[in-house]
Each structure stands twice: as C-alpha cells, then as structure tokens.
C-alpha cells in the first residue's frame, strides 16, 4: 500500500475562481524520493499542503499512512507523520537557539525531556549541524538554516518529509547542502521524501518525478523517462537537463543515442562511444 495516496483531489482556495488542484491522482510509496517540478502557480504547494492536512480536499480523498486527511480529529496524527519544510528559512525557525528550535516539535508532542534531548542531538547530527547547536539561527547561512529546519522536522520522527521549494531562496552551495541532506535521509534512513522545486537539476536523482502544470498532474515517471519526452517538457515551458538536450539535438541530426542518460559521465560515455563508430 502506498504511504500517501491522492484520489481525484480537487481544491479551490477560498475567494478564488480557478481550481488550484484539478483532480490530482498520485501514489507515493514508502522510502521513495519523489520530486515535484512545475512553474509558480502550477499547484505544487497546494499539493504539498494536502499531504499534512493543512489543506483538506474539496472533493476526492488524501490518505496518509492509512489515515484519511478529512477526518478532523486526525490532523495531529497526520502532522506527526509528515514533516514539512518551507521555502523561507527565516519564517519557520521559532527559537533563538538552534537546539531549542529543533526541540519545538517534540515538546509540542509531549515527549519526555530526556528523550527530547536525545532526539534533538540525533537530528542535528543527521543534518550535520550538531556543532552549531548553541548558535543563534539568524547568524547562519541560508543552507544551514534550512538544515536546522530539516532537523526540527526529523526530531518529530516522521515517516515522510515534504519540502516545499526548500532551495528557492538559497545560493548554489546552500541548494547542494539541502539536497544532499535529504537524499541521505532517504537513502540511509529509509525516509520517504517529497521534494518540490522549480530547479530541474535537483530532480535528476529522484526515484519518481511528478510534473505539474495549471493544477493538473501532467506526468509521473522516472526522471529519465520524463525528461526524455523533450516535446512534452517544451510544451510545459520546462527545461530539460543539458545532457538530454544535447543528445536530443544530436539525434535530430542523425545520431541515434539513448535519451535517458541524465548524468554527465554516462552521457559523455555514450557520445564518446558514438564518435568512435
């Protein structure tokens, strides 16, 4: 059974005329790294906010770890299973000291003091911010702040982490820090990760890629399959990796190379092999 399941979900924000989510169907399996790619206003954030019962579908159904999100008294149960990290690192840090911030969620859950301490230390170590535990958050870099926010979420010991454009406000180094931190959590700790972004290069290593546009889920598949559909990506106004783009154009002038080679080494190897023929 999938850990998150969307069945024909419709949602319109109060006061809006247009639907922000128009019949979304999506299955996310446990332990998967799912990337969601789309323009601003494509419905990515609306999709994310349905995953922890911040929003409840107008029509259709969202089931998280067996719990239907429309059951009102279960919102709390869903939120402790789904950690959310948001775009602006400054607006999700609640305390003046890093470790106090990480302790916020377990404190809310009523976890005993000694266990909170253990969870906070473990969470900070997992994101590589343990040495900064007594620092003031506002003096950290953007990437560090986001890692603190991730620690604050894993201290809750959720099964799933949803990150809503966590890299949009960061410099390239900060983006790399955040991406490698969550990739590690997924691959080593088996956590399910939903990573929402508009940087296509951050989707390359995902297990599953979801393309959103105007409130619709346009495509779901492996990054290799999705990016290979260069025409569809162009129609949606989305970029494809340099590797795919080069192979696609070489193919249009007579080469016949496989399109699914996303990382630079394998793409280079394929082209190098074709050269020798």
């Amino acid at each position: 059974m999938s850990i998150i399941s969307f069945k024909q979900v419709h949602y319109t924000y109060p006061g809006d005329e247009l639907e922000s989510l128009c019949g979304a169907d999506l299955e996310i399996e446990e332990g998967e790294f799912v990337a969601v790619l789309g323009h601003n206003g494509s419905g990515k954030s609306t999709l994310a906010k349905h995953m922890n019962a911040i929003l409840i579908p107008d029509e259709g159904k969202v089931v998280v770890d067996g719990i239907d999100s429309s059951e009102e008294d279960k919102a709390f149960e869903i939120r402790r299973r789904v950690g959310m990290v948001f775009q602006n690192p400054d607006n999700q840090i609640v305390a003046n000291v890093v470790e106090d911030d990480v302790a916020f969620a377990p404190e809310n859950l009523g976890v005993p003091s000694e266990e909170i301490r253990a969870r906070v230390d473990a969470a900070l170590q997992q994101v590589g911010m343990y040495e900064y535990r007594t620092h003031a958050p506002h003096l950290l870099s953007g990437g560090q702040k986001q890692r603190v926010a991730i620690a604050g979420v894993i201290a809750m010991q959720p099964k799933i982490i949803v990150l809503d454009e966590p890299t949009a406000m960061l410099d390239p180094q900060g983006r790399e820090e955040v991406l490698s931190t969550v990739t590690k959590l997924c691959r080593e700790k088996g956590m399910t990760v939903v990573f929402i972004t508009h940087h296509m290069d951050e989707c390359i290593g995902a297990d599953k890629l979801v393309i959103m546009s105007n409130g619709y889920i346009k495509a779901v598949g492996t990054p290799a399959d999705i990016f290979s559909d260069v025409e569809m990506m162009a129609r949606e106004g989305l970029a494809v990796p340099e590797t795919t783009k080069l192979i696609y154009e070489l193919n249009s002038v007579g080469f016949s190379l496989p399109l699914g080679e996303l990382d630079e080494e394998s793409c280079a190897a394929v082209i190098a092999a074709a050269m020798k023929k």
Binding site: R79, Q92, S113
Partner: protein, 265 residues
C-alpha cells in the same frame, strides 16, 4: 548600522549567574529594583553600586559591554541630569547662576539610579537566554492561569518577538538601502517631512511582518503546535540550593536598604 544594537542580547557562559534558575533571576531583579528605589543617601547608593559591581564580576560581564548597551540611553541620562542640576532649589555653585549644590547631588544620584537600573536588567538578559527567560516567566506566572490569564500565549508571543527582532532589523536595513537607492531621504527636512519619509520603510516592513507571521503560523501548526496543553520541555528548570541562597541574599540586600533608608543614609 542597525545590526550593531545589542539590546537584550545574551552572552552564553557558565558562571553561577548563568546557571541560576531564570525564575530566581527574575525574582532577584524585582528585589534589586525595589532595593534601588530605597536608596536616598550616599551610603545606600554606594552599597547598591558595590552589589552591582559584585554581580558583574561574578557573571563575567565587562563594564565595556554594559557601556555599549547604555549608549542609546545617554541622551536621556544627560537630559535628566541637566534638568536636576538647573531646577533644584538650594545654594548656588556660582552666585547668579541657576546651578545649585543640591542640584549637583541630585543629578549625580539620578545618573547613578538610571545607570544602575539599566545595568541590573542587562545583567539579567546578558546571562539568561531568551527561551529560559520566557520559560521562567511562564512558570512564575502560571498561578495566574487559574484566573484565566493566557500566560502561555503571552510568553510565547514574547519569545517569538525576541526571535524576530534581529530578522526584522536586518530587513529594515535592506529596505532602507533600497529606498535610499531610489533617492529617499531620511536625514533632512522638517519633522513632518521626516515622519512622512518613514512610510516607504514602515509599509514594506509591516507587509513583510504579516507575511512572516502567516508563514510562521503554518510552520508551527505543521510541527504540531497546539497551545500550551500537554507540552513538555527539553530543558527542565531546577530550583537548586544556589537559587535559595541567591534569593536569601537578595532579600537580605533589600532589608538592608530599607534599614538604611530609615536612617536617612
């Protein structure tokens, strides 16, 4: 730059002053202020000054740090001192001039009183983290919960405010630079013009503060925040022997000051 302001800053450390329970420190500051206001004569002022100096030594806070914090207050201190110097009746220092010996004494005492008051509160905020402070306050005031005073809400608002002060100061800096680049002028003009010139800073600042508050609320809800009921703490406050000792000393100090006042010293 605005960033250099140190108001309400915490200097981490491990002195006895740092290790005292924030609740005892809050009670001590109340005792200290009460004692300070008992001071009437030079002997009692000397005693408060000595006690304050002792506290500074114990908590490893240098006079330089205190002075840095006092800087923004210098104008008010100087003004009070001058008013007292000129407007106290008594024996003139120079015949024909309005300064009096009594005025001089009053103004020195006024300066001492303000400086000591500020120094005392700085010693509290310099040695206590904002979280510990608000936690202490919440626990101290928790009896008020019985009469439906929203103590938890008040203290969490306070700690959020403390958390966002540096962020908003940084943001003010950025907005000011941006408006200056469009030729905004905050330094010259008449008072009404200057007040009007603040709009381009205040409006964006408020808009962004509301946006932040909105996002913060969603983020807090996502982390299972649901008010004070059933919340636990990572750092549990312990009232230790040193706290009782400190409180006893504080009471003794206040009693001593009251006695000195009786004798007009």
């Amino acid at each position: 730059m605005l960033k250099d302001i140190t108001l309400g800053q915490y200097f981490p450390g491990n002195t006895i002053a740092h290790r005292l329970d924030p609740r005892s420190k809050l009670i001590l500051i109340v005792l200290y202020i009460a004692a300070l206001f008992q001071a009437t004569g030079w002997i009692s002022y000397a005693l408060v000054t000595a006690v304050t100096a002792l506290c500074m030594i114990v908590s490893h806070i240098s006079p330089k740090n205190i002075f840095k914090g006092l800087k923004p207050m210098l104008f008010i201190i100087a003004l009070t001192a001058l008013l007292n110097l000129f407007y106290t009746a008594g024996r003139p220092i120079v015949p024909g001039w309005p300064m009096t010996w009594e005025g001089l004494a009053r103004s020195v005492q006024m300066i001492l009183r303000i400086v000591l008051l500020i120094t005392g509160t700085f010693l509290l905020t310099y040695t206590t983290s904002p979280i510990a402070l608000t936690d202490g306050l919440e626990l101290l005031l928790s009896p008020l919960k019985k009469i439906k005073v929203p103590v938890h809400e008040m203290t969490i608002m306070m700690s959020m405010a403390l958390r966002f002060i540096p962020t908003l100061i940084e943001e003010t800096d950025k907005i000011m630079s941006a408006q200056k680049a469009r030729g905004a002028d905050f330094e010259t003009g008449r008072l009404t013009e200057r007040a009007k010139a603040l709009l381009p800073i205040l409006v964006p600042l408020f808009v962004s503060a509301f946006r932040r508050a909105d996002e913060l609320a969603v983020a807090m809800e996502s982390r299972c925040y649901h008010g004070g009921d059933g919340r636990t703490r990572m750092k549990v406050l312990h009232f230790a022997a040193r706290d009782w000792a400190a409180l006893a000393l504080g009471l003794l100090f206040l009693a001593g000051m009251i006695v000195l006042k009786r004798f007009g010293l």
